[in-house]
């Protein structure tokens, strides 16, 4: 094991020499790459610092986005159907109420002259 390490470290010495001998053009490009990578890191950090909520949104809600959208559509549909039914019921009740009110008086009452006189008398009092 020690012999292995000894050889390895001698090889490493030469490898370091090789790394030091990389030409200027290549080291220049490596520098540019590093700067580019760091600029991307800053963007990532800025996004995170701006939006802790965004981080939660992407980490927690995004994986369940489909389910959430499906639930939202379901709730919206149920609410819409319920509202539509309420309008329908209100219309039907209106018709029924009118019918009931109309049915309170026999049809002959409208032909009775005394009733007409009573209606006009009450109307004038109001």
């Amino acid at each position: 094991m020690n012999k292995e390490r000894e050889i390895a470290y001698k090889v490493r010495h030469y490898l370091n020499l090789g790394a030091d001998e990389i030409d200027r053009g290549t080291t220049g490009r490596l520098f540019e790459m590093r700067m580019k990578a760091l600029s991307h890191q800053q963007v990532a950090v800025a996004q995170l610092s701006l939006a802790g909520i965004g981080h939660i949104a992407t980490d927690v809600f995004l994986p369940h986005a489909r389910a959430l959208v499906a639930i939202a559509v379901l709730v919206f549909t149920v609410f819409g159907v319920s509202t539509w039914n309420d309008f329908q019921k209100a219309d039907e009740n209106g018709v029924i109420d009118s019918a009931l009110l109309a049915d309170d008086l026999p049809i002959n009452a409208y032909l009775d002259k005394g009733f007409q006189a009573w209606l006009s008398e009450h109307a004038s009092q109001d």
């Binding site: 292995e4 030469y14 490898l15 790394a19 030409d23 290549t26 991307h40 990532a44 950090v45």
Partner: protein, 181 residues
Amino acid sequence: MSDFLASVERRAYKQALFAVRDGEAALDIVQDSMLKLAEKYGNKPAGELPMLFQRILQNTIRDFYRRQKVRSLWTTLFSAFSSSDDEDADLLETLEVEQGSYSPATPHGSLEQTQVLAIIEEEIKRLPLRQREAFLMRYWEDMDIAETAAAMGCSEGSVKTHCSRATHSLATALKAKGVEL
């Protein structure tokens, strides 16, 4: 992050170069690895960066191999004239890199050092992928066995085996070429 990338970029480039044997492709691999590290792990503690970076680097090198495999498959299918001069090209490229600014005490010493470096780098390139990864991470990047195992996605026992075999292969190959370390 900046200090870490500055300290590791040259070795990362050389690692990629050993693996893919193409300077431009090696630079692309290093760039992709740096970007991924900065974008995804920019807020990680400094102690975790070496392992994460090595993991990304090795994965990016493997992606390159996969793409190259697909490309060479198509090339083989559509062309009967595909060249296989990689070995020669690599040798020239290695020799170019060696004419750098390192200056030992004597010209003779400089020449000898350059020759030994060329032989070592060539033998490193010839190592099997996993052995090379383990050897470079363990002994060049100074990562411990657990970190190396985590970066390679294998057991600590496998890391030890890869390192041992790599060192043995290197020692044997260098001895055969008259290089005594």
